[in-house]
């Protein structure tokens, strides 16, 4: 099984005139837990819906587990999808949802699904419409996991949950994923969620992929450079400036380093995932927690 979990070439999706996703080219190997971050409306849901086969591309191509998404029943059975706000049949019971999954999926794991719900204290008799937000998310995840998917797609699964439920949900997700050897793509607009569970990052900005890669490599390959205001305006060699900001006393750069960073003029610091994401999202480049009186960079 050498096919990538998810591979796109020039992928785009247009709604009427607006491009929700444009010119996306990336390849995610199997075995990763991928965090898909971006502001609201950046195209996270669109990308996941394309991967689940709910949407068809307007441009380019997307290949999921080596096949066109939703090409046939077998492909659909290999991918688990947890849609945003957990799409469930409100008037069907939890039990009915499990039966639905059992009837529709060849590799359905009924035992694990029942055990998981029992562990969560969700009664099978209850109607899905009466469940709390956290329980709905959990039921939705249970349904996706019981398919024994090779790839699990989660579209903002924790956005409606309070911080505690969030932590629980992600924790349960991770333990299940680790036990079942499944690739995961998880979208969120909160970096803290990603940081907790993901080892691979895709940042979407304005419908485009700004950066994609393994988080460890990204953190190793990016640095914060702190310099005085008099520091030369030109970026240091072998570095690509991702974001820059200026305060009264300092200049701050986030750079991508293609080689070792040797810059005597600058103080070199390692970067946090949050700063890295924010730098790519272009929100005034870098948070400057330690520095008073900030000015917006041009």
């Amino acid at each position: 099984m050498s096919a990538a979990a998810l591979e796109t070439v020039g992928l785009g999706k247009r709604y009427l005139r607006r491009w929700a996703l444009e010119d996306c080219t990336f390849r995610i190997p199997r075995g990763h837990v991928v965090g898909l971050v971006g502001a609201n409306g950046a195209g996270k849901s669109t990308l996941l819906n394309l991967a689940a086969g709910l949407l068809a591309p307007s441009a380019g191509s997307i290949v999921v587990l080596g096949e066109q998404p939703a090409r046939d029943a077998a492909q659909l059975a290999r991918v688990g999808f947890v849609p945003q706000d957990a799409a469930l049949y409100g008037w069907l019971s939890v039990e009915d949802h499990l039966r639905l999954g059992a009837h529709c999926n060849p590799r359905w794991d009924a035992v694990a699904a029942h055990a998981r719900l029992a562990e969560l204290g969700i009664s099978p008799r209850q109607r899905a419409g009466k469940l709390s937000g956290g329980q709905r998310a959990q039921l939705s995840l249970t349904l996706a996991l019981a398919k024994r998917p090779e790839l699990l797609l989660l579209d903002e699964p924790v956005s409606d949950l309070d911080p505690l439920a969030r932590r629980e949900f992600l924790g349960l997700l991770m333990s299940t994923v680790a036990a079942n050897d499944v690739s995961v793509v998880l979208s969120s607009h909160l970096v803290s969620d990603i940081e907790r569970v993901c080892d691979y990052l895709i940042v979407l900005v304005d419908s485009r992929v700004r950066v994609a890669g393994e988080i460890e490599e990204l953190l190793a390959g990016h640095h914060r450079l702190v310099g005085t205001r008099s520091t030369d305006d030109v970026a240091p060699e072998n570095q690509t400036v991702i974001a820059a900001s200026v305060t009264d006393r300092q200049r701050l750069l986030v750079v991508r380093s293609d080689g070792p960073v040797v810059e005597p003029e600058w103080v070199i610091e390692s970067i946090t995932l949050e700063d890295l994401v924010l730098a790519y999202m272009g929100q005034g480049a870098v948070r400057q927690v330690a520095l008073p009186k900030t000015e917006a960079a041009p």
Binding site: D72, A73, L76, A77, L88, C104, P106
Partner: protein
Amino acid sequence: MTWLAWRQLRTQAAVAALGVVGVLVALAVTGPYLLHDYDTVVAPCAAHGDCLAVTSYFQGLDSQLRHMCSALMLFSPVLFGIFLGAPLIARELEAGTYRLAWTQGVTRTRWIATKLAQVTLVTAVLMGLLSAAVTWWQHPFDLVNSVLWLNFDWRDVVPVAYAVFAVALGALLGAIARRTLVAMAATIVGFLGVRYLVTEYVRPILIAPLRSSLPFRLQVTGTGTEAAIGPPQLNDWVVSNQIVTGAGTPVGGSWENLGGFSVKGNGKAVLSGVGRCPNRIPVSGGPHWHAIPATNAALQRCIDSFHLRQVIDYQPASRYWPLQWSEAAIFLALAGVLAAGCVWWVRRRLP
């Protein structure tokens, strides 16, 4: 997928079935009495020769239930379309549950095909039961006073085809509109529109009507004189009835009580749209002046001088069943096209 589709449909199907069973019970309770009445009261009357009083008594029986039956049969196809067809896809889109359904290990094509097949089957079975029951119940009335073509729209096979069509229409409109309520309203409008067009413009020419063209004869009736009806029998369906001149031009005007004639006091008369009568019409007072034999003969002479003919297009009673099957086939074919449209729309245009 079969399980889920049925799980979703079964509540509506149960409600519809309950309604149908209610009607069946009402008909089953009253039907035997009607048959008994017919056998004991109406059937023997033929032996005595005078049936008028008996038949009019019999026709007054259960008139409420009869009207309800015809209304029910006329409206239930569109009800199936509204309550079973329109929500079929629209509700999934509205609630967002399509995202769950379409990411199971079942293709969308199979999903929609299963749903359509189930809803069509339920509709056809329930509507077929209704139609059969109503037809059975009405049988004694048919024996007394057959109005074959007046029952065409709500008897036998066409209602079943209408209902199947309405359901497919509702499903497709629901997929396009993505709103159940909008789809319901559009289903009503679309269904009535198609029914009207077919009834008005397609049914009369589905099988080329027979034509009778005979010299125009007046006939005297109890209240006056009117155009005599030619060869069509009681149970034939008169599609069109025209008086034409020798050249074939239709003559307008009403022939009831000879609205087409204007007769002056001196007996000179004009046949409107045709010309001046060559002969004089004897005029006497009274409301039934034209029923007097001499007057009537004079009017007929005037008509004959213009070589007027009465042209009637009609469908004989023997074509009732061919037309039932043909029209049913049309609606089933339309339903098939709409169902194919549903599959295409769900596959290519959604979400």
